[in-house]
Symmetry: D3
Subunit: 269 residues, 6 copies
């Protein structure tokens, strides 16, 4: 049983892949789930409220945030690409979100950060939340910015944030790298629930992964969150190996944790 | 099956809450269990021997220790309060106990230390046994003293001690903080058993907690003890949340690991 | 004697306080010094070339960077203030600068970062370059962004950067906090020279401070830069104490390394 | 199901205790298993190929390595003894092996290192792969040499190696020390399989142990290997305690992780 | 020139060796120097005030503390010996001192701790302020208690303390060990002055040593204090070597940092 | 004045470059200096004794060691080359040396190790003595072996060793890399003297460098040795820059600390 810890919970980026996966699941966490995105979210279902907003629009973001007790922020650009849109949605947009949270007294945020904040570490290294950022592109860089910005809002204004460095959250792992980075939708929901309900969250960085045998990430600094993964990529291992070939160890996409992102771009804006 | 590793085991503080919980359980660890406290312990049962003693009385403590192979020391003041009684029982008393152990050749002690040795760390931090002491009161300070004193008796005289920083050992967790700090009576017994039977104990600090999802403590420096928790506070989680309200994050009792102790006192002696 | 290691060196922010202090000094480091700012820099002197540019204007920045071998980047907003101008000059502007460096093959940058990247550490703590960012405002946050962005351009494109976390670079320390943070103009020049001439710079973070007795920063991870301070705030100590009163330890501006910045804002854009 | 990741796998030291335990098991990992030792290995069974070689004979080692895709190297002296044979088999022999791997393009090696590389740490300490070597004799020293040599072949030539510091791999633990160090044959096979199949191995040191309650070793730097132990010494614990007496804590063989090895020798060559 | 930072400064233990050395020197730090000890201090000189007190007497200590702005606490037992007097003066006495400071609003204390807090580290080790206590006797243990107690008064009540782990403060080093541990009287005064005047002290541990070539202690966590040693034991080195013989490396007094203290006792009370 | 701490000191490798530099200097450290090498050393001068020996010849080494109180071991192969001679002189030879020391009760050795033990760290990294070995060739590997072997002889037999990782000891630095690695002959002598005379040496690793501005090495774990450099490469800096061109950052010899060694070989034996 999940605890309905919040009266009104805001989910941004609700139209995206993870947003869709969480739309039903998060209803267990609140009385009302406010959904937001830049694009259409269809009709509001039971327990739902819909408020579209462009993250770069401060007034729209302010309205979106008003009246909620907590925020699960998946909104913004979620893949590597030109800097312009990332600047608008992930940098200016995040500033708008935290300013709104500050003004309206929202005290807890779950921020979808990314493993691409540390994508330039090697796949043979294990890192924890204190490893300095080594972003693998503009997207990862914007997420590093978000982690630092939320740290400021905690140190200065006491707004608690969990920066969830999501690995690869898909129905199942698609390749050998994802055997390490996979996060099932149910584990994603468990992790967000833990972030929303743990008594004291502080400002925390937590890697979003299932209980995979191979991993590069150490969540020992996030024990106070109480996340316990129940899924694992291991059941997909033989099938993934059977349909993929041995990796080329001279390929940066294989050497580094960020995978293909470390080779993306540069993009013209 | 527990191993009867000792011929005669001394349990101090046998009249207290944990003492009562261990009185039956520890009989599995020894041929004879010598029970001690300052107050009456009733009649000696099977396998039992009773020797009352005030810890501040060196002669009484010497007699209490004579003839045993190992000690489980729960005795002394176990809550925050005026310094006078703590000085007598927990500081002078502990000195008396180790002097007696030294004189009588007792080589292994399980010392009930406390999470209040490090009560001024935050509930959003994870600490291990090497984190400098940050006691949250006179009680925690006396336990820090005990840890240092037992370190000396190990370095100088080879007496091995496990300092067990007990979290909250009750039949079940009473509030949200205890979901992190809870130690079931059975896990307490498992932990003490591990300390008594591991081949080499050295001088070790180990946090006494069950296998709780939320935790602030890292026992990785105590792997040689071989403690494996089998209970967890998680089964009580929904009930605790249902009967308690959301914590006030501006309250020091919520911010710090020591809970209410960080606000106790000052006490007049 | 300083080594003229570069043919053409670009100095941005040349109209600001530090820019003015470096305008003459940096001529020792290069054949030609290209000066840039958003505002007038007067006539070009000997060894000088002037190219005004707004950092948010990608084309202007591209032209400014073309033809130089190395960059000393002081440009942008240098104090706490509204986010809008910081976003333009320090975030978009820095992206423009590194994109131009990438396109034109500039391989070494000295980036004026700031102690405000870590302004929310306490004045009783010593931190090194690996301490996670704790920015004390939008300005510090933008400098944290710059450090991460330059890390990316090193990991991906091999552009070396020294992120110089400048303390307080003024003719002399103005208050007790600056006794710890002071960086003389000559030491600033020594530090930049070391960054420009050390054989291998990599991506490095170095705290910009003179040889002050009181300090909060540990430059041990920047030994390969070879910076040796020759000035010290200590000669100003008695005078500063004489004209200032004892600090109020309950004031965040005294508790935290960032000083007054930790209390600035929020600003309306 | 184990993944047949290799076409032809070389197993050296196939006549030894662990070699015999792995001879059948490793057939699941490859199409053909090439077996080697200095002494007779009987007739080749199905999937098998046999090539005897003395490790100190460079030409024989070269022939032994030619044509394989990966190597599981158990060969050489495996107990403490005179330095001469260790020098020949474990030092010169290992050099010969890696030179052959370099010449023939073999890119992955599983090297049987030993807990005796760190045998002079105490049984009350937990160490990880970064703890400086403290070999407990000539055998442990030769394994430390092998770890450093394989590090060089990785840094210079990109040959990946897992240095598996095998604890005590026997059908069951023989004494109280082995309760900590035991590695079942099946877990040994699981560990080698993980080393052979993880996408990126790099140069890694991993302690070879089952999931024992008491342990002195922390494998957190080898998470990318994906080894999950399924056996445990714990089921043998009561029996081992029943047939052995309490250890003498003044005996170096009890104090140090290397056990009896720390007292062996000196040997005349 | 030393800064007269305090109006009325209390020096306890003023009759002891270090007390005498500081009696004149500390007048430069304050308008009035209040001197205290258990034994006679002679007549009050210029700038002086005398208040005798037994540290175990809470009322006397309260009176002694009333009216001062800061405390330099050298009082108590300063050598290894029976536990009784140490318990009274160094444990109960320190509690009395901090209670008095709390009641009277004294906000800064320089506490004479000792290298004997960590006397059981080896002379071939370098430790810093975070190394866990390893006291070498009852005296060192009482100083460890004092460090923890003052940590509590800082965390709970904001009273700042510098715990100065004094090495060997004598006119000159007496033996080879003291070449490492020597602290000249002038450097002792410089260190206390730094503790009294640094803007933010927090709760700090600092090793009290001159600028000796051989040392075992790392003061990098105390950089915010701004202590700069100007003396060195090195000028005494040849003379000390000439009059002493080579140390016996099997002697615990040579192996451990605490020197002869590690062999003292046990004492009958 | 250097202290004549030893009666008879053995210097091996006396015919080499450093051996020649030390032959006169070390006479200040002892009554008699025994010189050894494989090749002729000319006639014995005052205070000198000469005993030629091939390090691979155990009997000759035994004779060479008999009767001395301490050893400065520079002998063996000192550059990268084929493995055969390195195996004989640096591996077997070192074993012979320590066996002789053990048999004859020699208790202190200064072992000339090398920066090539860690040659595969980057020139933009700072490492200390605990950084895992990353040898850059067979020579560096043999020195890593020597460090581990001497650790064993300390842990098992109490023979103290200083492993001096000599940087570049020449009359003056030859290129830009040597500005970081340079060790003057006088500083080399100061360092060896410190190793020979410090009261407790233990088993220590110390980087042999002068007080150069640019450095990659942190000697903080060797403070108990008391080495203070008095020379610096800085006076040669401008001249070195003037006669050398800017380094190519894509060249491994520039990227890694080992310089050209990281590209040497492979060698046919």
């Amino acid at each position: 049983m999940t605890i309905k810890a919040h009266e009104k919970l805001l989910l941004t980026g609700a139209a995206g892949g993870l947003g869709q996966a969480l739309r039903e699941r998060l209803k267990a966490n609140c009385a009302t789930l406010r959904l937001s995105d830049r694009v259409s979210l269809g009709d509001a279902g039971s327990q739902e409220e819909i408020m579209l907003a462009d993250l770069a629009d401060a007034a729209a973001v302010d309205a979106m945030v008003q009246g909620v007790d907590a925020i699960v922020h998946l909104g913004g650009v979620s893949v590597e690409g030109p800097f312009g849109p990332i600047l608008q949605a992930n940098i200016l947009g995040l500033y708008n979100l935290y300013e709104a949270a500050r003004k309206h007294g929202v005290k807890r945020v779950v921020f979808a950060s990314s493993n691409h904040v540390t994508g330039f570490y090697r796949q043979s290294e294990t890192i924890n939340a204190d490893a300095p950022a080594r972003p693998d592109g503009m997207y990862g860089l914007s997420k590093a910015f978000g982690e630092d910005l939320s740290r400021f809002y905690f140190d200065r204004y006491g707004i608690e944030t969990a920066c969830v460095r999501i690995g690869s959250s898909f129905p199942e792992p698609k390749d050998r790298r994802m055997l390490a980075t996979w996060l099932s939708f149910d584990d994603l929901h468990r992790l967000i629930t833990a972030c929303l309900t743990t008594p004291v969250l502080g400002h925390s960085i937590v890697f979003g992964m299932s209980d995979n045998a191979v991993t590069w990430w150490d969540n020992s600094r996030a024990r106070h969150i109480g996340y316990v993964a129940r899924d694992s990529s291991d059941i997909f291992r033989d099938a993934v190996y059977a349909r993929t070939s041995a990796p080329d160890l001279t390929d940066p996409a294989v050497q580094f944790q960020g995978g293909g992102f470390v080779k993306a771009g540069p993009f013209a804006d």
